[in-house]
Symmetry: C2
Subunit: 311 residues, 2 copies
């Protein structure tokens, strides 16, 4: 997987955060999190990533620990006075419910993404789950990217619908979860929901269904690619699983350098593969120890999980 | 798909019913339903089926309309004085909720399955979702079948747990839905649930997850086969989808004549294929018009839906 693909490197804009997470297995304080963090670490297993985000002085040398030695360019990671974005969440006994205890935007409140000049011609742009106004500001600073992928959430669907609509017109691939797809489209049926969302702009809609896997539209109207999630005996910490999926998905596509049906399907499996590791431990702990061999092996397990022939 | 397989024919025991169904699209009264009906019609696309069930005099010549011209032997379909088992259900606006308005067992209340002598050596037995006591009575009347597959439901898990445990000791493949798997095992995680259920007897557990597809254990501990459901723009009537899946699954296995990993995976897809047709119309309407060509075409769509390679 070389960096010479026409779809590489990826410009990734989103949040870098310090998370406090409580779940049935324990609690950790101020571990590194954030949509752009998970995305970048996952994508960097496949291709080069240019990270644009903001942290406070309390982030200290955590960036070095996390990102150095990886294919992540940090020229766009600003450190400003104040505290880093903080989030605290608590999971229920079966990890299917999550309560946000607090969200402290801190330095993120004043974040105005400034894309370094050298990044403006990035062929792929990933817009993490941030305010649609900021997503638009990023798009205004880049020059005709080949591919724009974006994430969003119910908070923006409800709170900034008009700006979100503007973003969607300029997005090629929208990656959202099933509840968000239903809310954004006003359709309970996911096939219809995807069709409505495509009419808003994105030619491809990737619907994340958590433990039920992923459903992706294909260019041919009414056709889909579907993948189950890897059945896991224990999900330890689902935080960041969706962003990790997005990183593996977009990273794999970028490395491949084309958006054929086959490349898109494979990218969904790479995204699912990386996400299945992310949930095994707190924060990015498992991802930071992950090897290309691990990825290759679990990709093979996905194939055994889903493969059938005509007999 | 010939009938000369060592796993053919299938002895199927369960309910034949007259259903009244109300859903957002309309209402039908006293249409044919029942677990053994859906199972048999689906399985008969693949192999020979011997149906054992009971109907009342009101069933009249409905059996002829439904079953004749199909690979279904009706020597075990008893007609007795009284009314056929009746069920009335009403679906919510998105078909995800279903309320049972009434269940009138009628002639089914006195049903004692009597297996015709010629059926006692059937190599495959399917025990539809009936009282575990009746399932045991069936097993006591057959001679060492090669394969016993069974369905059950929360009603029996709660109401007849000891008899159900006796059944499970004698079952090779248990086909249940995700909520039932969790209830039967006491485990919220489906991987753990399947493991617990396998320890009760069945070497294979097939977990039906409705719109989220199917998860099947494999002989190797901790390995699974997973299939998504076909994404459908409209599910018209989900009644009987699970029994239809079971019919396609067991029917395909029986026709294939072996229980290799490949045959089991293919059977899951055939089950899913047939079930995806069943929900398109009320009752068995779509299944009765179904052709082998239809099945083959949609099987191909399933392959396009899930196929990926290593690039």
């Amino acid at each position: 997987m070389s960096g010479s693909s026409p779809l590489s490197p990826i410009l990734a804009v989103g949040s870098v955060a310090l998370d406090t997470i409580k779940n049935p297995f324990g609690e950790v304080s101020r571990v590194v999190g954030g949509s752009a963090t998970y995305f970048s670490v996952a994508a960097a297993f496949f291709t080069d990533v240019r990270l644009v985000a903001v942290v406070g002085e309390d982030f200290a040398d955590r960036g070095a620990e996390l990102f150095e030695g990886r294919r992540i360019d940090l020229a766009g990671l600003q450190t400003v006075p104040g505290e880093t974005f903080r989030w605290k969440g608590e999971y229920g006994f079966d990890l299917n419910t999550r309560e946000t205890i607090y969200t402290k935007l801190n330095v993120f409140e004043q974040f105005e993404p400034t894309i370094p000049d050298a990044y403006r011609t990035s062929p792929v742009v990933f817009l993490g789950n941030i305010h649609p106004r900021l997503q638009l500001e990023v798009l205004d600073q880049v020059e005709k990217p080949h591919l724009v992928a974006a994430d969003t959430m119910n908070y923006w669907i409800e709170g900034a619908p008009e700006e979100l609509r503007e973003v969607l017109k300029r997005v090629d691939i929208l990656i959202i979860n099933d509840a968000e797809a239903r809310e954004l489209s006003g359709e309970a049926n996911l096939v219809k929901a995807a069709c409505v969302i495509r009419a808003m702009g994105p030619s491809t809609v990737v619907v994340k269904k958590g433990e039920h896997g992923v459903l992706m539209t294909r260019p041919c109207e009414g056709e889909f690619f579907a993948a189950p999630a890897m059945p896991l005996e224990q999900v330890f910490d689902p935080t960041g699983a969706g962003d990790t999926f997005a990183g593996g998905f977009v990273g794999s596509l970028a490395a491949c350098g084309e958006m054929s049906d086959a490349a898109m399907a494979r990218a969904i499996i790479y995204g699912s593969t990386i996400a299945s590791f992310a949930v095994e431990e707190f924060s990015l702990d498992r991802l930071l120890r992950l090897t290309q061999e691990d990825i290759k092996e679990r990709f093979g397990l996905f194939r055994r999980l889903t493969y059938f022939d005509e007999g």
